[in-house]
Symmetry: C2
Subunit: 203 residues, 2 copies
Amino acid sequence: MSQGFAIVLSGPSGAGKSTLFHRLKEDFPQLLFSISCTTRPPRPGEKDGVDYHFYSQELFHHGIQRGDFLEYANVHGNFYGTPKAPLLNAIQKGRIMVLDIDVQGARQMRTLLPPDFLQDHMEFVFVAPPSLEILEERLRKRGTETPESLKRRLENARKELEAWPEYQYLVVNDQLDKAANELKAILLAATCKTQRRTWPTTP
Amino acid sequence: MSQGFAIVLSGPSGAGKSTLFHRLKEDFPQLLFSISCTTRPPRPGEKDGVDYHFYSQELFHHGIQRGDFLEYANVHGNFYGTPKAPLLNAIQKGRIMVLDIDVQGARQMRTLLPPDFLQDHMEFVFVAPPSLEILEERLRKRGTETPESLKRRLENARKELEAWPEYQYLVVNDQLDKAANELKAILLAATCKTQRRTWPTTP
C-alpha cells in the first residue's frame, strides 16, 4: 500500500500518449484518468463527465477565481482546465491518477503547486517520438492531415519537444512495447518512493 | 541508450538483498556488481577480485589517503571499502552498477559525492523485511544463528531499519516476486530519467 499520487504525461500529439494510457491500465486497472473541463461546446457523441466536463463561460471563470484548476488555458477563445478536486480526492484515497497535460500546463503546475506537494504527490513524464522526422512520417502515413494542419501540428510538436528536459522522465516511443514497459516501470517505481511508503508494513 | 549510473542497495541482513540481486540479473544481464576491498584475510574458498579485493593494511591506507574509496569503515579492526574507479568506469561506459552498502556507507556517499553526481548517477534503495518481528522469525527458521548472534543481528537490523526514510525508494520484501518486480521497475525507471537520456534518439 502506497500513498496516492498523480502522473503528468506530456508530449506532442502523434507521440502515442493515448495508446500508452490504455497499456498502463493492463498493469494498473485501478488507475484514474483526469477529465478536463472546457467551455467549448460538446461535439457529436461527446458526453459530459466522460470526455470533458462541459462548463459555461461563467462557471469556468468562477472556477478560475476560486482556484479550482491545477492549470488552465484559453485556446482560440475556448477555455480548457484541469480540475483540482478529483486529484486531491484520488490522492487522499491512495489512488494513482494520470493527467494528460501540455507543456504549458505542466509548467503552471510546477510553478503553482507547493514544492512539498510536488515531491510527495506528482511525477512528470514526457513522451516523445524518436525524432521530429519520424513524427512527420507517422502523421503523413495516417493520411488524416491536410498539408496546412500537418504543418501546424509539426510546428507545435517542435515547440513542445523542446521542453523534454523539464520533466523527470523521458519515454521515447520507438517500439510501443518497450515504451509501455518503461511507463509501467516509472509508475511502479513511483509507488516505491519513500515519501509514499511507511514501514513497518505489518504490526 | 541511457547514461550509466549506480544503484545503492542497503538493508539489514536477512532482508533478502542477495536473492534480489540475482533476480535483477534476469532483466538486466549486463548489470555490474561492485566488489568491495578489505584488509581481512580471505576465508577458505574466497577468491581475490571475485569475492573481495584483498588489500594489505598499507595498500588500504594508501587508498584512503588518495581518496580511492566511495566509502569505507573499520569493522573490528578490519577495513572494508568500496572502490571508486570501477564505478566511474562503469558510468563512463553507460553501464549500471549495483552496490551493496550499509546505512553508514550510504550516508558517507551522500555526504562526500557532489550533488550533481548524486543526481545524475546515483539511486538509493532500501530493502526491508515487512517488520522486525518477521525478520526475527526468518532468522530463527534458518537455524544458523546462536542465541547471541541472533540477538546481535536483530539489534543491528533495528538500527539499520531506522534509516529507511533517508533513501529514495523502499522495497519491502514480503513476497519475493513482488519485491523483485519493484526493484526491476526502479532500475528501468532510473534509465528513463531525463538527466540520463538524450533526444532526439535518431538523426
